[in-house]
Symmetry: C2
Subunit: 202 residues, 2 copies
């Protein structure tokens, strides 16, 4: 995805590590891929109810207006966050959800990936709290919004000392899960004439 501004929202609930994930994504873009980025947390009354969202805009050019309004990429780690935000994803945008935590989704209009981030973190990586890093790996693998090298460096620079190997395993698990999901092409972007709207390809 070179040369264009990308608007990304990471959404879910407090405690899922989305603020940190947004910061890592922005720092990957800026410090290691040489792009510009703006990273924002907007907290309103819903934050006190446990909702969390973190937004990142990445661009090769200056970024004037930091409010994402037409998302290219949306991650949802709770059903509530999907219900609230899926309308903000632009036509043809990439929707990535936790398969177990977001059971009810529309398979229309978007490139949709359903990956069990939290189960992968618990079962494959061994720590549920790295689900945010598994999700980051999947986002990068699917969208190439930053390079894999950059996200690895940015994660290593931000996570607590002593957890580097754990987080490397989490990232790798996210890359693998996304590569597998893309090979299977479980859902298809709506074609320009609408023919494939809402269909599973498999």
């Amino acid at each position: 995805m070179p040369n264009k501004k990308k608007e990304i929202r990471l959404s879910g609930s407090g405690g899922q590590g989305l603020v940190l994930a947004g910061i890592i994504l922005a720092e990957a873009a800026v410090l290691y891929d040489g792009k510009n980025a703006v990273q924002t947390q907007s907290y309103g009354p819903e934050a006190r109810g446990g909702a969390s969202k973190s937004e990142v805009i990445i661009s090769e050019e200056d970024i004037d207006y930091p409010k994402p309004e037409n998302l290219d990429i949306l991650l949802c780690l709770t059903q509530e966050s999907y219900d609230e935000y899926h309308h903000d994803l632009k036509r043809g945008g990439v929707l990535i959800v936790d398969q177990d935590l977001v059971p009810d989704i529309f398979l229309r209009q978007h490139r949709t990936y359903r990956i069990p981030f939290t189960s992968i973190a618990s079962d494959q990586v061994g720590k549920k709290f790295v689900a945010n890093i598994v999700a980051l790996g999947a986002i990068v693998a699917v969208t190439e919004v930053v390079s894999r090298e950059a996200i690895v460096k940015a994660v290593m620079a931000r996570v607590p000392k002593g957890t580097e190997q754990l987080n490397q395993r989490a990232l790798d698990a996210g890359f693998d899960a996304a590569d597998k999901a893309q090979a299977e092409e479980p859902t298809k972007e709506e074609s320009p004439n609408g023919k494939n709207a809402g269909n599973h390809k498999t």
Copy 2:
């Protein structure tokens, strides 16, 4: 400082913990003081040169436009960040600098507090890397932009397990240093008729 929107910029260099400090300040306002907040990192080419800035807008009302343009509060932990940003502080705004790291400042127009955050963190608290938390304590004590209770809770919720006592000592050291600085009134806000402009009161 009730009932009004406050725009805050925390500036310095990468590694000084200002991104985390901005998040903690926003979460203090939202989760524990019942306000709204937007917290933004804007990364441009200067980030690759080591500069860091984190911005927070706190308000009791909805916040539409998240770009701070007329700062109420500016923290500078490097001379470079002071040189670049002090013009963005509004007349009568609060300037807080690390006394040792920002030697050259103008004592005009602003309420200025010079506190040796990094020395306090090293010498009194015992760990240089908590200078950001010492600075947060001082900001809250001087400006009351969030309550002391809220900032304590927000720091405790965000810092790594096992570092709670260290961070509590850092916050307390920040409160104390600011209380002392205010008692001494080392610099005076410019009066409306300009009489005291640029003067030390002591």
